[in-house]
């Protein structure tokens, strides 16, 4: 009963926000609409990272690796090989997922700080490729001139409003998919691993496999945001896969509240807004995000979603909770 009401509230909120986002295209200036597009793209990235950080309990410092692989794939396929829109999307989706599937083999047996360090190292590998494999990636210069696709005769993505609608449609689909994923038996198992991996094993779960699959799924959704980014920006460069990019995604999740899905999406909004707003005043973006990080850890350890705004209760979840070790098995 209380659950049903809660679900109804959430559904209404979801529909309301979706309608607002659709209407936004009619109201906002081009500048603000492009900021909002960016917020949605990075919202997908943050939500995909939340699968790992907030649900499986694996803090990743290298999540923009798949974002970057997808963005570069779109850039290379479209500018060098003249591949069409669906070919680029399919190729980027498959390649970023494949890279996640390979990286996953290297990281899924670790957790905590080790997981953090290995994911960081792997994202450096991707950055290294982007920077050094000049023949393919143009190195430091990046790749420009990625054409926005035309879907049919009338609908040109070159038009910012159309492109915004396209991103919004993907965003809503991804949100619903991740929402469903997290409520599935498999999604629940991830929370179990976050809370106590040893107990999960003793209930019959192959926890390695569950962690591995969650890593691949997170990488897959991260790739989707990378595809959108390539088309949004029309340009990719090594800075898309830098440590800073991964750290920003990390911060979006921490700031919003890990394990809440909606929180990281809001976190993305705040970070993107600040980035664009403050860039007019200061060059020192790293100092700004460093400060936000410290303030969040000190004053909002469960993120903004833990603020109980007007009785709207979302599940408060402890961040990155570590395994409760069992009697005698330490």
């Amino acid at each position: 009963m209380a659950r049903a009401a809660n679900f109804k509230n959430k559904a209404l909120l979801f529909i309301g926000v979706s309608v607002l986002l659709v209407l936004a295209a009619q109201v906002l200036s081009t500048y603000w609409l492009s900021i909002l597009t960016l917020v949605l793209i990075f919202g997908i990235l943050a939500m995909s990272l939340d699968i790992l950080m907030g649900y499986t309990g694996l803090p990743s410092f290298g999540h923009s690796a798949f974002f970057g692989v997808a963005a570069y794939t779109v850039a290379i396929l479209s500018t060098r090989y003249g591949v069409g829109f669906w070919g680029c999307v399919g190729g980027a989706f498959l390649l970023s997922t494949a890279v996640a599937a390979i990286f996953g083999l290297l990281v899924a047996h670790t957790k905590g700080v080790y997981f953090l360090m290995i994911t960081l190292a792997l994202s450096m590998v991707v950055w290294g490729l982007a920077f050094r494999w000049v023949g393919m990636t143009s190195g430091d210069n990046g790749i420009s001139g990625i054409p926005r696709p035309d879907l049919g005769e009338a609908v040109s993505m070159g038009d910012d409003v159309n492109f915004y609608y396209f991103v919004l449609a993907v965003y809503i689909a991804v949100f619903l998919l991740i929402y469903l994923f997290l409520r599935s038996p498999f999604g629940q198992s991830l929370k179990g691993i976050r809370e106590s991996e040893s107990r999960m094993k003793n209930l019959g779960y192959n926890t390695w496999l569950h962690k591995y699959l969650s890593y691949v799924v997170a990488g897959m959704f991260s790739g989707i945001s990378g595809i959108l980014w390539a088309y949004y920006n029309g340009f990719v460069s090594p800075s898309d896969v830098e440590i800073t990019a991964s750290f920003e995604a990390f911060l979006m999740v921490i700031l919003g509240g890990p394990g809440t899905l909606v929180g990281p999406a809001l976190g993305a909004g705040i970070i993107i807004f600040l980035q664009n707003f403050l860039s007019a005043f200061t060059e020192r973006w790293l100092i700004v995000i460093g400060t936000i990080y410290i303030l969040t850890i000190l004053y909002l350890p469960h993120g903004i979603m833990a603020l109980n705004i007007r009785g709207l209760k979302f599940n408060k979840t402890k961040t990155l909770s570590n395994d409760q070790t069992s009697g005698g098995t330490s």
Binding site: S184, Q188, R199, N202, Q324, G327
Partner: protein, 250 residues
């Protein structure tokens, strides 16, 4: 199926560096048997459970479950054969509700655990099993409470519920009454006595009274070695056992 033993340990040894936590233990449990393991602190009782479940691998010896050699199988594969355990130090999912804890436990041995894009709530069977067990343990009121907000006594009960809901054939209970008051211990013991008699139970217990109450036979473990196995009365009156528990050195 012929009458194979439920659990068969053959010369199982576990060393941690120089320490022989378990040495040359032979133990045989018949289907449906209720056996208690007693022994002083550090005797190796929990280590024995960790070996049976696969959290640790033996340095020597073999472990057979339901007639199958599982010595090299990882934990989750052994669990899927039909064993489950509880922990001496409560090991639950603290941020999840009692119901969510139970559902996770129920699907652990079911293929449904891999389903990614269908809501959990579609699996009525798991909910029904959870409800049944909540009734049995009188935990209906706590159903939607986060486990971290339960009392210690309630957590000890949920600990056992998680192990039971997967419908195991062999249940390993590691000091289920640890840290409970006398009154709590008594009522909990009464609940445990009602566990389906078809389930084979291996119980570690510090409290002799509980051990004698729940088990048909008792095995004494001391310094990693099996000292003696037998009926409760024989164990009570055994000299060596008395020395281990009340005397000085052996």
């Amino acid at each position: 199926m012929e009458n194979t033993a439920c659990l068969d340990l053959q010369g199982v040894t576990k060393t941690f560096g120089g320490l022989h936590a378990i040495s040359g233990v032979d133990l045989n449990l018949a289907v449906g048997e209720r056996r208690a393991i007693i022994g002083p602190n550090g005797a190796g009782k929990t280590t024995l459970f960790n070996l049976i479940c696969g959290e640790l691998f033996p340095s020597e010896g073999a472990i057979l479950l339901f007639g199958q050699d599982v010595t090299k199988l990882p934990v989750h594969k052994r669990i899927s054969l039909g064993i489950s355990r509880t922990y001496q130090v409560t090991n639950l999912f603290p941020e999840l509700t009692v119901l969510e804890n139970l559902l996770l436990a129920a699907q652990g041995t079911n293929r449904a655990k891999f389903v990614m894009f269908r809501p959990m709530s579609f699996y009525r069977e798991f909910y029904e099993r959870a409800e049944t067990i909540l009734d049995e343990f009188n935990l209906q009121v706590q159903r939607d409470t986060q486990v971290k907000n339960l009392s210690h006594g309630e957590q000890r009960q949920v600990e056992v519920c998680l192990a039971l809901i997967g419908q195991p054939r062999l249940l390993l209970l590691d000091e289920p009454t640890a840290g409970l008051s006398n009154a709590e211990t008594q009522s909990f013991t009464a609940t445990l006595k009602k566990i389906d008699p078809q389930i084979t139970v291996l119980l570690i217990e510090h409290d002799m009274d509980v051990a004698f109450e729940l088990a048909d036979s008792i095995t004494v473990l001391h310094l990693g070695e099996l000292v003696i196995s037998g009926k409760a009365e024989d164990i009570k009156n055994n000299k060596t056992v008395q020395e281990i528990y009340f005397g000085t050195e052996v």
